[in-house]
Each structure stands twice: as structure tokens, then as C-alpha cells.
């Protein structure tokens, strides 16, 4: 997506979202409109509902027992905004279009190539030739191709942590999502590997809408186009770039909320 020169278009509209687990509220009264202006980064203390918020967008919260929710979420999945709870949208199709990368790399117990190939085959049913093309495409997109092109058949678990995380990202990109959800994607990586992922995300933000949870404010400032501050299950602030570039103001807000 091009950087917006005119009025930025919304890609995520949330109205009165409440999410409870076993009757206990985890997200409360979320009303939010996100527009295209770079990576959206969620920050907040642990337990503030960041992960639950992220998982609301691909309906992954439903996987956990005791889940109940009310409210409405609309996402730009094709040309128009779509209500993700509407009945004719299959949840598997939603999750293909809203891809998710987890905190620690979760490669499948198969080869590097199969990690991309197998989900692609099972979810999209693309033929072999197309799948092979896309495999090369996405591995190049995450800058992993040169490192793994000679050992695509080896087990993915033999890669380093940073390589595994880039493979997980490639696996999601192969499904051609519209929105990427990243749950602390660098939390389990060392400094250098984190840096590579950050650079990658800054490249990818021009092609995908990205919402990421971050455990570090510094990281948020480096990669974010806008920052969402969460506290006790509520969105406290939506900060635009000019607001959080001002370090004093950010500091003040964070002392107040974290």
C-alpha cells in the first residue's frame, strides 16, 4: 500500500468490543479506528490485553476455553470492509487473510520447504508449480533464500531462532494475507536477529498492514507509524508519529500508564 497522501483510509474499525474469559473481562469497551499510517504497535504492561486484542482480529481467542465476546470488528480483507463475525466468512479463510506470527518461532516438524509448502497446499490448494514459485518468492521477501536455498529439505528446527522466525513470517506471507498480526515477534531473539526482523518489518509495511505487539518502547519508536497504549483491557491512547517522536511527551505518557 502506498503511503497515504490524501485522507488515510481505515482498515480496521472496532465498535464496543468486550472479550471475557470464564466471565472475567479481558478487553473492555474497545472503540477504535485504525488507518493506514505504517506499522501499528501495541504497548502496555503484561496482562493489559495486548495479545487478546491481537487474537480478536483473527478470532483466535475462540480457540481457548471460556471465551465469550460482544461487539463488532470490521477489517479491510478485500476491497471493502468486512465484519469478521459474519456467518458467511469461514474462520479458516479469515485466518488466511489475517496472518499471525507468534512470540517464539513455531516451525512445523517438517522440512524448511514443507513449512511453506504444506500450509499453502492445505489452505489454498494451489498446484505444485505455483507453490514452488511462491516458496522462492516469500523466502526472498524475508531475506532467507540465500541462507537456505541449498538445504530446503532439511528440518526447519535445525535453523537458528532468527531464521526460524523469518521462516514463520514467510509461511504466513505465502498465504498472501491482507493484514499481519505479530505477537512480540522478536521477544525470543537476540539483539542482532531482532534487528534483522525490525528491518524486515519496515520493508514489509509498504506491502502489508501490520499490527504488532512489542515488549520494548525503544522498538516501538523505531518501527511504529502509530502506537496503541493499552492498560487493564482498555485502549488508553492512540499516538501518531509526531506525538511519540517527542520523547518527553512519550515518557510522560508511559510513566502514567505502564
Amino acid at each position: 500500500m502506498e503511503p497515504a497522501l490524501t485522507q488515510p483510509k481505515p482498515f480496521c474499525i472496532i465498535k464496543n468490543l468486550h472479550i471475557l474469559f470464564h466471565g472475567k473481562p479481558v478487553l473492555q469497551d474497545i472503540n477504535l479506528t485504525l488507518t493506514d499510517c505504517g506499522i501499528t504497535v501495541l504497548v502496555g504492561a503484561s496482562g493489559s490485553g495486548k495479545t487478546t486484542f491481537l487474537r480478536a482480529l483473527n478470532r483466535l481467542n475462540e480457540y481457548y476455553p471460556g471465551y465469550s465476546a460482544s461487539g463488532q470488528i470490521e477489517l479491510a480483507l478485500s476491497g471493502t470492509m468486512e465484519n469478521i463475525y459474519q456467518t458467511d466468512l469461514q474462520v479458516t479463510e479469515l485466518r488466511r487473510r489475517v496472518g499471525m506470527v507468534f512470540q517464539s518461532p513455531n516451525v512445523l516438524p517438517v522440512s524448511i520447504a514443507q513449512n511453506i509448502n504444506l500450509p499453502l497446499k492445505l489452505v489454498t490448494g494451489l498446484d505444485r508449480k505455483k507453490r514452488e514459485e511462491r516458496l522462492v518468492e516469500v523466502l526472498q521477501e524475508v531475506h532467507l533464500w540465500n541462507e537456505v536455498k541449498d538445504r530446503l529439505k532439511t528440518k526447519a528446527s535445525h535453523l537458528s531462532g532468527g531464521q526460524q522466525q523469518r521462516l514463520c513470517l514467510a509461511r504466513v506471507l505465502a498465504l498472501q494475507p491482507k493484514i499481519l498480526l505479530l505477537d512480540e515477534p522478536t521477544a525470543s531473539l537476540d539483539f542482532k536477529a531482532s534487528g534483522r526482523i525490525e528491518e524486515l518489518l519496515l520493508e514489509l509495511q509498504h506491502r502489508y498492514r501490520i499490527i504488532a505487539v512489542s515488549h520494548s518502547l525503544r522498538q516501538a519508536r523505531r518501527i511504529a507509524g502509530q502506537i496503541l497504549v493499552m492498560k487493564e483491557g482498555r485502549i488508553e491512547h492512540l499516538l501518531k508519529k509526531d506525538q511519540f517522536e517527542n520523547s518527553e511527551m512519550l515518557q510522560q505518557l508511559l510513566e502514567e500508564f505502564l
Partner: protein, 279 residues
Amino acid sequence: MLFQGSAVFSALIVLALFGFLVYFTLPLFSEGQFTELFSWHWRPFHGEFGILPMIVGTVLLAISAMLIAYPVGLGICLFIHGLGPTWLVRPVLFLVYGMTGIPTVIYGFVAVFLLVPLLRTTLAHGTGFSLLAASLTLSILVLPTIVLLINTQLQQIVPRLRLTTEALGISRIHELTRISLPSASYGLLAAAILGFGRAVGDTLIALMVAGNAAQIPGTAFDSIRTLTAHIALVVATDSQSTIYHSLFAAGLILFMTTTTVNLLLHQIRRRSSREGQSA
């Protein structure tokens, strides 16, 4: 010290058992009764002591019982791991675990009074004591072994994968059949081998339900006799004549089968733990 002692003690017992069987089987080789032993006829009063029908009966029964039990066991495991409703998982597991504690004789008893008459009346072929009756009953006996082995391995694999595959939009059935089961190949193999071993080694069900005719069955509705039932029958009725020697051969074959099963399992476990470390 105590553990070492008991380990040595049990190894000695196994070795003694093997030596005992070989010692008593040897005369068959030296006295040229070997060919008699591996003949197709068991007619002790005519001096024919062939145990081939029993070997065939054993193999047929074990394979047919596994052909019934294995798919069912696999199906139960898939049901437990996501194809069935979650509220049924615990009752099903409870039932399967409970089955392991039921004495074999109960299965045999129930089969004699329910399954055999049912087969007799519906098939109108023979007495109902048959290969089919025995394999159906035996399949129930080996089912828990199969379910527990596969289930144990899936429990290590599925929870780690489920969130990932859910998030990728992969359906449960695809996840289980294309990712989880292929990664559980050791459990699948171990279940097949151990299940087969149990089916070969079981005595009581074959003795009670299979009819015990020492013959090659023409159909699944014909009676068979297994090696285990053969030993039990002959020991119970005769312990004097030369017939007796053939039992040791039968015993030796069973002993070597179960030993092979155990060695295979050991091999599989070693391979699987090695792979587990490198993964």
C-alpha cells in the same frame, strides 16, 4: 544394588527359559522328527505332529484382529484429538483405560454367550466358534494397547502444533492427517508391533472362541487353533507321549516372536528418542 540384582535375576530367568525351550526342542531335530513337526497334519494317534496349521491359525488370527482393531484405535485417537466434541474426550479415554483392567476371560465369556450364538444364527455356517469370532473378540482386547500408544505420542505433538495450524487456517482433519500423524510415525509403528505381539501371545480368547480345530481355515467362519491354545490344550490332556515334544517347538516359536517384538520396540524407542533430541 537391589535394582541391579533384580535386573540380573530377570535376565537370567529369560535366558533359562530360552535354554529350557531349546533343550527340549533339540531331540526333534536329532531324531529326525523335524519334518513331521512342520507338516500340515496334527493327527497324534497316527503319529503325525504337524504344527503348521497352528502357525497359520496364529498368524491369521493376529493379523485379522489387528486389521479390525488398528483402524478403530486410530479413529478413536483422532476423535480424542480434535475430530470429536471436547466433552466426550474424557469419557472415551476413561472407557479405554478401563478396558485395560478387564480380565481376558470376561471377554471370552461374553463372546461365547453373545457373539458366537449370534454368528451361528446369522451366518448359518458351522458352530459359530470361528476365526471371525476370535478376531472380533481379540480386537477388543488389543484395542486399548493401540489407543494408548498412539494417544501418548499425539499428546506430545498436537498441543504444540494446534495453535500454529489454527492460526494458519488449516482445518483439524488436515492438521491431524497431514502434519500430526506423519510426525507420530514412531507411535503408529509401536502400536502396530505391540498390538500384534499381544494378539499373537493371547491364549484364552483363541482357546475359548476360535473352536480349536487344527486345520487351515477355508473361510473366516471356519474354526482355527493357535499355537498358544494348542499348548494349553495338549498340556491339559496329555503329558506323557512324544506329542509333548512338539509343544516345545510351539513354545519356542512363540518365545522368539515376542522377543522379536520387544527388540523391535526397543529399536523404535531408541530411534525416536534420538530424533527427539536432534529436533
